[in-house]
């Protein structure tokens, strides 16, 4: 009967759970889902990572290409990141051009990466005015179960830390490029922005919501922090939020961020160790 009730009155179903201070998946209101990070699983990419937050799964592959820089920014490379929410990951998405949610997420993640300064585009310059790296970071959602922005940021940062670029020799006189694939160098990542999402349901704030929870909630809030600093807050409409509640959320995010950053660094360092061994 529970399933029928949930299908007909999702809000009431959920309210009954929350009145007992528990969520349908057995979590407490302020409990995060377990996070799993896997790196370097795609050999055809120059850097890759897979992140799971609960059931939400996203994969990111970074491909490096060579191109001339823009005339107005002669010593800057490119980092092009796109978030794909294919129909594969949820029945909510239709085949065809990217959905609004995909476009919003893409924009948000791309802006955040540029603004946070976690990567310096000047590092991607090979020869000024002639040749720079262009990194295509494609983030694809494989299973959409809420908190897509959190997962995308996490996977993108992890993937960026695994990028290995070969050494390029460029002879400008004859426009000749030679690649030495035997020596590969890492990219400098200056900081690690991470985020957590909250859903507002009546007078409660729910941490790390699933898709179902996101759908019945009256509003969402994503807090992005880096190194104990506030990086960005994303609150697309929804019901109003008091100042105290917002501070609570920010504090919670700062606390959780340490855990996420440790997780990324552990995963990346293990991969680095493996590289040294072989």
């Amino acid at each position: 009967m529970a399933k029928q009730f949930k299908s007909l009155h999702p809000t009431k179903f959920y309210r009954d759970y929350l009145n007992q201070d528990i969520r349908p998946d057995g979590r407490l209101v302020s409990k995060f889902r377990p996070v799993i990070i896997n790196i370097g699983s795609i050999a055809t990419a120059d850097g890759s990572a897979l992140v799971r937050i609960g059931k939400t799964t996203v994969i990111c592959g970074i491909k490096a290409e060579l191109c001339p820089p823009k005339p107005e920014k002669p010593n800057e490379g490119f980092l092009i990141c796109n978030v794909e929410l294919p129909p594969l990951c949820s029945s909510k998405f239709r085949p065809g051009p990217p959905s609004d949610l995909a476009q919003i997420t893409t924009r948000f993640v791309a802006d955040l990466i540029l603004n946070s300064g976690c990567i310096n585009l000047k590092d991607l310059c090979i020869v000024k005015e002639k040749l720079v790296w262009c990194l295509y970071a494609d983030i694809i959602c494989l299973d959409h179960d809420g908190c897509i922005i959190d997962a995308c940021l996490l996977v993108l940062l992890t993937a960026l830390k695994t990028v290995r670029l070969p050494v390029v020799q460029y002879d400008a006189a004859i426009d000749k490029k030679t690649i030495d694939a035997s020596v590969k160098k890492c990219l400098n990542i200056y900081n690690t922005p991470v985020s957590t999402t909250y859903a507002m349901f009546e007078d409660k704030i729910i941490t790390d919501p699933t898709t179902e929870e996101e759908e019945i909630s009256s509003g969402l809030l994503t807090v992005v922090v880096k190194d104990k600093e506030l990086c960005s807050i994303h609150k697309p409409g929804g019901s109003p939020l008091s100042e105290e509640k917002l501070y609570e959320c920010i504090n919670e995010t700062v606390n959780h961020a340490d855990l996420l950053i440790t997780l990324i660094n552990t995963a990346v360092s293990e991969c680095n160790d493996d590289n040294k061994n072989c």
Partner: protein, 285 residues
Amino acid sequence: MPTDNKRIAGPEDSISYRLFKETSNESVLSKINNLKNNIRSDGRKTNEQRKIFLKCGVVSQAKGSAYFEVDNTKLIVSVYDPREIPKKTDYSLKGELFCIFKYAPFSCPNRRGHQQDAEEKQHSAIMKRALESAVCRHEFPNFQVDVYVLVLENDGSALSGAITAAGIALAQAGIPMYDTITSATLAIQGSTKLLDPTLEEEALCTIATHKSDTETGYDSHGIIVLAILSTHEQISEFYQLGNLNLDTLNESISILMNATKEIVPLVEKCLVDYVNKTFKANGQS
């Protein structure tokens, strides 16, 4: 080409750095000669398949899903509930399958576009044909069942893997089917037949070569993908690329039939494990 405003586009003239790599001394021709002498770069026998890993129920939001991995070829398939066929007004007695086959942009040595290209569209059509004969389409008239394939990494034989995985995903989704469907790929260069080719072998086998230095005629070469309904021993799809002489055809089909039969126990085990798991879960609740 129309511009894509819904994604962030990169610079127009970027090129893969792999093009400027110092190429190894071994030329394409010597590689082909190696193949013709039945030497594979990974040391496999010609009729040996790579180890297959199958798992179903990987996408929680989907009705049915499967993950397929052979060596470096990794792909994921998900199947959703029957839905209305868009832009269709008349009544049809049989349901339809709707397949989308897509390579992830980072899955191949060269970057792929976000939109489906001609090859991906063709693969989608092949999958639709292969799977439609396995599904009891009269059970969901007027509806379409969506089958989405995403190749995460391509190292050859992705299409046949996708068909096998889609069969599992459909069965897990509870879509009525006449049979389990399995598929395998064979690459042919001269008299050599390579089962389950890697991406490099696939590329080498699509190059036409002369029979010998004196002759001008081309030797047989190409790729065959065969999908089979295992219990009834019916071929549901035969897709061939390249140039083939008739004597090789019979032999090729029998190799592929054997190969697909080898996959059947894996598919069955995957499904039985799933049924066992859900049966126990049902018993507990």
